[in-house]
Subunit: 429 residues, 2 copies
């Protein structure tokens, strides 16, 4: 009799941890991803701001599973799902049969039905986007240096970040440090310290999911970095020359050549496919509503985990879209499968909230661990330690540590390259 | 009275060394490049083969000249030259006046009037091309893993490198090591060791500019790496399915999905512009024929150096297109300018041949230093040392050393990423 076949879609935090936790289990695992690497998304903003190189936060899936004999990695894209025959269909027409399917396809940027804004305001969801954002930021200063018209020059030195969540806070802090610390002696005609960094937030405060005191602390720390925070600001238009925002009843136009989108995410389009094929419900972000054991209603053989899942059995509101959710659900999925193989029941999934942290800049961060709220240097040290710990690959850890040490000592950034020739950004999803 | 204005086109080995050697001189230096970094081209093949990240072999020009007060860096592209008004025209219409002009715009791939071959056989002249080649090599193995038709699978595992110079030798050795040492335990369906690496050379031997015994040694060392060398082979066609070569009177078709061009270079298009504006002669590779002091005939205020120059006053044949030519000419150009400012005559340029070296693989290389011919481990150790020495940036040296050490110890490669979505390669020149 052939072994129980577990097929996992996605090599992010959820899929990776599910596959790793099935090491040694009496199953055949197939991990399918469109990319050949696991990407450590929490540090992607450091690629976008020239602090790290792409390869330093990415690790080949095949290397991770080289010695895990029961696991096969396939580079491929899922185009359909046959729930009756229990087959996944890939873009080359190949059918991949499964006994248990784990869908961990993650999330993508949400432009809230304004896909036309994408070329003017790229988000931070892929390596390609990160190097494109890096290109735009660095090219902006270069163009300003050559621009003689002061109005146009100002637009090249005005950076707008849309969305005051963790990504927006991290990006705006980092861009301000580039302007004030990294580049300030490198130009002859412009003063990079004259740059303006604006962080646009629709709600009343930054980091809305954090406690209020940490939101206030983040705003204070950003202010020290000269980031201008604009709360209660709804974006009403984005084009090649800037952003239009509505604050209360007044409409304001910001002239800017560099706009970055960090306003929210939605589920991968695979969520819709799963829902169509299984009759599962999706929420307004396109996430699949799952049962207490992360399975799809009526399909115990299909699990949806991580950012793609709406899991609301732990306190009523969906779990946050953070790495920990994916990691814990991935490990849970593996344990559930192992119990089933032994015909043993298994307890429902329970999320253990280990806390939240966002970095703002040099020695600046906020962290919430249980009832403990930490700001500044200590939070930053915690952030550095935890991110190094979770980064996959011993070599990556050493190199990233070295790059951070170097950046800290010199204010420089190791990957200040303008590469690529793209004029238009195309969606990666 | 305003200072003597030196304008330098190109931040490669020639332009960089000219500008650096003018440090402290009583001149205003403007260094113009299309890119914001100096690229260490000799290690570009290591980016193309996943051993290094782009940022590790590139260094921002602005950082290099941060403390050199007499030097301004401009990101820009030269579109015209007004020799009477002594103005360079940039792509934004800006005119940059000069008293002395140093043109160090380098070389690009030469497809010998077959630009239609470019999309099927990218060359190794830019970071974009290198990451595209990396993408094609890694994607080939991934596609082979999913391909069931044995004939098609074989084409995905057949790598053709055209041109048996240093770049071709380095690329073919590195690709063979990827197949045999790096990936051989990573796939489940294919045996990456079954890959075929073919090095196509039009002439009788590899490394034609090296002594015959070193050519023979290189061929021997490549053979140990299972690279199949095909001398006397003229390429007659390249398309999406492979290469057609003519060996003597017989025509052979090689089915291959990955073809890399290393068959030769030609001068940057700026050579033609210089010739048209000054009446200078160019050779058949588009290089500007220069006087014994690297100036253009009739225009002592214009110097052409590095790969863009045909300098034939040192033994009759043009100097080789290697880093040393650019470095030495750059330093010479600076000294010539300093002498002129003192109204002192200066001796003609003389090339000091420090030797040649090409690496083949792990502990495999050839080197010619004066009358000394070295092969194998010793040549490889020399190659490593010299390349680390010449790499710009302390941090880059440390990181590259670390990556090499890691690769040597583990056979792995730190930058095994498939990135980019390009289906077509566009020329960078």
């Amino acid at each position: 009799m052939s072994k129980h076949r577990v097929v996992i879609i996605g090599g992010g935090f959820g899929g990776l941890n599910a596959a790793k936790s099935l090491k040694g289990a009496d199953v055949d695992v197939t991990l399918i991803d469109r990319r050949n690497f696991h990407l450590f998304q929490p540090l992607l903003y450091q690629v976008a701001t020239g602090a790290l190189s792409p390869a330093e936060i990415a690790f080949p899936l095949r290397v991770i599973f080289r010695r895990q004999k029961n696991t096969t990695v396939l580079l491929g894209e899922v185009t359909d799902l046959d729930v009756n025959a229990r087959n996944l269909i890939l873009n080359n027409g190949e059918a991949v049969p499964y006994d248990t399917l784990i869908v961990a396809a993650g999330a993508t940027d949400n432009y809230f039905n304004r896909p036309d804004w994408l070329p003017f305001a790229p988000g931070l969801k892929s390596i390609e986007n990160a190097t494109e954002i890096r290109r735009r930021i660095l090219l902006a200063f270069e163009t300003a240096e050559r621009e003689l018209d002061p109005v146009k020059r100002k637009a090249w030195m005005t950076f707008v970040i849309i969305g005051g969540g963790a990504t927006g806070v991290e990006m705006s802090g980092a861009i301000s440090e580039i302007a004030n610390d990294t580049l300030h002696r490198d130009f002859r005609r412009i003063h990079t310290k004259d740059s303006e960094v604006l962080l646009i937030e629709g709600g009343a405060r930054l980091l809305a999911t954090y406690p209020e005191d940490l939101s206030a602390s983040a705003e204070e720390q950003l202010k020290k970095l000269k980031v201008h925070t604009k709360p209660h600001s709804m974006v009403t238009a984005i084009d090649a020359d800037g952003v239009e925002i509505k604050v209360g009843e007044s409409v304001e136009r910001i002239h800017s050549k560099i706009v970055i989108w960090a306003a929210g995410v939605k589920a991968s389009p695979l969520g819709k496919l799963i829902a169509e094929r299984t009759g599962a419900e999706t929420d307004k972000m396109g996430r699949v509503v799952v049962e207490p054991d992360c399975t799809v209603k009526g399909h115990p053989e299909i699990l949806v985990i991580g950012d793609l899942a709406n899991f609301s059995h732990d306190g009523g509101k969906p779990l946050p879209g953070v790495a920990q959710t994916g990691i814990q659900m991935g490990k849970y999925a593996a344990r559930l499968i192992k119990h089933r193989l032994q015909n043993q029941p298994y307890k429902p999934f329970h999320y253990w909230d280990k806390g939240n942290m966002a970095t703002i800049g040099r020695a600046a961060a906020v962290a919430e661990v249980g009832k403990l709220h930490v700001s500044g240097l200590l939070a930053w040290a915690m952030w550095l330690t935890i991110h190094l710990m979770y980064l996959v690959g011993f070599q990556n850890r050493i190199v990233v540590l070295l790059q951070w040490f170097y950046s800290y000592a010199t204010f420089n950034r190791g990957a200040r390259l303008i590469t690529g020739n793209k004029d238009q950004l195309t969606p990666v999803d």
